[in-house]
């Protein structure tokens, strides 16, 4: 990784966090009237991904999709407008935060039924194989999604058909308020289990962006050279509540020690320290960068607020193509 890549990943993480923090800060205005699943704390994975993904690569995601959408280069303005339900939203206001799409950058869609986009991504990968495109497909989902049968069905099919697809599991140890314990066997290593299905698998610390970067690069190389699918597991942690803008540490479903431990592993703070040590960053640069981002983000919110709702008739249009 050269310095440019390092800096650019840092900026991406800051960008992601500022976007999400702004959503959180302004959600209480009751103008973004749809469920939002923020990924504050999980930025490293998407930021690393943004460096590795090629323009032609396809991406899909689940309910917690903002960062994947932005990482692939999805339009910030269209996303924020979508959250506000405005006519210039990426899904014309019909989908909201749970249904993002930006075909200009091959972000093919995100949906909020757990596991739902996993097989759809396999279909996208299959089509690009049929069309002999060089691109591959990345699909993001959580540790909860591997409890859905469709995950196994899809991995099996991807292996049999040698599809150019990367399954990316962001294991943040929780599904809503439920820890892994009532959901999965003790001591299970997700990536090991999946590997036994017959797919190459990697695991990395999802809060260490350089490791994420290397893992994505390795995965990409593997798919490119072997023409086979890959499974990735990243361990990480979300800082806020499952759905909505708030911190929910008061609910005590996650121990305070655990939270503290993970906050110490904040992907941005640690990486920032490292880059400061490396003299790639300093307080001033950080300040300027954040300010730059804030302006962009605030503009997106300003524009979204100013935009019109779609024509009411649009609700009754475009059911069929």
């Amino acid at each position: 990784m050269n310095n440019k890549t390092l800096l650019s990943m840092y900026k991406k993480m800051q960008f992601f966090r500022i976007v999400e923090e702004t959503i959180a800060a302004r959600y209480h205005e009751n103008k973004m009237r749809c469920p939002v699943h923020l990924a504050i704390g999980q930025e490293a994975i998407s930021a690393a991904f943004s460096q590795v993904a090629q323009k032609g690569d396809y991406v899909m995601s689940s309910h917690r999709a903002h960062l994947h959408y932005l990482a692939k280069g999805g339009s910030l303005n269209s996303m924020i407008s979508e959250l506000y339900g405005k006519e210039n939203g990426c899904s014309l206001g019909k989908g909201g935060s749970m249904h993002l799409i930006d075909l200009k950058v091959n972000f093919m869609g995100s949906t909020a039924i757990v596991g739902n986009t996993i097989p759809i991504s396999a279909g996208i990968a299959m089509a690009s194989k049929i069309k002999k495109e060089k691109s591959m497909t990345f699909v993001f989902f959580g540790d909860g999604a591997i409890e859905e049968g469709v995950f196994y069905e899809t991995v099996n099919f991807a292996i049999v058909k040698e599809l150019p697809i990367v399954f990316v599991c962001e294991n943040n140890f929780y599904s809503v308020y439920s820890p892994l314990k009532p959901r999965q066997p003790k001591d299970r290593k997700i990536f090991k289990m999946v590997e036994a299905m017959g797919i190459k698998s990697f695991k990395a610390d999802g809060n260490q962006i350089k490791k994420c970067y290397r893992t994505f690069s390795d995965a990409k190389k593997y798919v490119d050279s072997k023409k086979k699918p890959v499974f990735l597991e990243f361990e990480t942690y979300r800082h806020l509540e499952h759905c909505g803008p708030n911190n929910d540490d008061n609910l005590n479903y996650r121990g305070s020690k655990e939270i503290l431990r993970w906050k110490k592993k904040d992907p941005i703070i640690n990486f920032e320290k490292e880059l400061i040590k490396k003299k790639l960053l300093n307080k001033k640069k950080i300040y300027l960068e954040k300010n730059k981002i804030k302006k962009i983000v605030n503009t997106a919110f300003f524009k979204a607020e100013k935009s019109s709702f779609p024509n009411q008739k649009e609700a009754y249009r475009n059911l069929y193509a």
């Binding site: 749809c34 949906t111 709702f309």
Partner: protein, 351 residues
């Protein structure tokens, strides 16, 4: 009679049932988490222990099969899903197994399970968190389908569902959750529906779930304007209890059905069809159906603005069927909610 919320009524129905049937269990995603499925399962872990109420993996199809197996081996269960939409993953177990088991194995083993499905609405729930698919369940022989509308009937319908020996799909509307009223803790009965919740002689309105409240409010206020409407709360969508419906039609000769599901193929179509087949001669005017549009529910506040029918829409159709031309008092005085996408001030998202 204590005044309690719809959520508490559900909670108490489960709790009282678990007390009555010492083996009964209860599970679902989030059943024992801090939010306890919008509060509907709160205290149950404390009262009944981890073995009788527990959280589960996100495996809707398997967990439906599990409830069937539990039933076959003598354990009654209540299984909860935070949205109906998630349960589409479990249609094999529901339709191929639960619904048919008792029949297809020659009446050897009943399958007493109660599947609670919560229907979302508003606040950008959008296309996959707001589906009201009662008519799909109602088409399947062997299922019972229940839609409560108030704390009182939520309480007894849920208890009756739990102690019914058949698989019951219990459709709970999110917008009813905060509703409060007095509730008597009646003993369990045989599940029954089509309750006349307001008597009248000019027009029969049949409806269900959250729509009952708008209909009742409008109907009561119309009495003062000399319009006497009979309101039937379906409550049990399958099997439909026809007796009260037919009796009402014979009396009023006019029918308006108001449905929370999509227009085409709704359970309202079934009601209109049956009445047309059997009581055409009693109908003084053609029946009317109000239902949700044949579109997925969009997410945007702007797009849902007129997507749901409101009281004005109901009044308009009442006037049409009764051939009233003049502007009614109620139309002048009507107060529509400030925001169409929340059930009340208490609701500020996120889901």
């Amino acid at each position: 009679m204590p005044k309690i919320s719809f959520v508490d009524a559900i909670n108490l129905a489960i709790s009282h049932s678990m007390r009555k049937d010492k083996k009964m269990i209860c599970y679902g995603l989030g059943a024992t988490d801090p939010k306890s499925i919008f509060g509907t399962t709160k205290f149950l872990e404390k009262d009944f222990g981890k073995k009788r109420i527990f959280d589960v993996p996100t495996s809707e199809n398997a967990l439906t099969g599990v409830s069937i197996g539990l039933a076959l081996n003598g354990i009654r269960s209540v299984v909860s899903h935070q949205r109906l939409d998630f349960f589409l993953l479990a249609f094999d177990q529901l339709i191929n197994s639960a619904a048919k088991w008792y029949y297809m194995f020659g009446a050897k083993k009943p399958v007493p399970i109660t599947i609670r499905l919560i229907i979302g609405r508003g606040w950008g729930q959008g296309p996959t968190h707001s589906q009201s698919l009662q008519s799909i369940f109602a088409h399947i022989p062997g299922l019972k389908v229940v839609m409560p509308s108030s704390p009182q009937n939520a309480y007894y319908l849920l208890k009756d569902s739990i102690f019914d020996p058949n698989p019951v799909v219990f459709l709970e509307h999110r917008w009813l959750h905060n509703l409060k009223s007095n509730v008597s803790y009646k003993k369990s009965n045989k599940l029954s529906g089509s309750k006349v919740v307001k008597k009248g002689k000019d027009l029969t309105i049949i409806t269900m779930s959250w729509a009952v409240h708008d209909v009742l409010d409008v109907s009561k206020r119309l009495n003062k304007e000399g319009i006497d409407i009979e309101v039937i709360d379906l409550s049990v969508i399958k099997p439909i209890f026809w007796k009260n419906i037919f009796a009402s039609i014979k009396k009023t000769g006019r029918l308006l059905v108001i449905d929370t599901g999509a227009y085409t193929g709704s359970i309202s179509s079934e009601i209109i069809s049956e009445i047309s087949i059997n009581y055409s001669s009693r109908l003084k005017t053609p029946p009317i159906k109000i239902a949700m549009p044949d579109f997925p529910e969009p997410t945007s506040y702007g797009l849902t603005k007129n997507f749901y029918f409101d009281k004005l829409e109901i009044i308009k159709n009442i006037k049409k069927i009764l051939k009233i031309k003049k502007t009614l008092q109620i139309e002048k005085n009507i107060k529509l909610p400030t925001h169409h996408d929340v059930p009340g001030e208490w609701f500020t998202g996120p889901f």
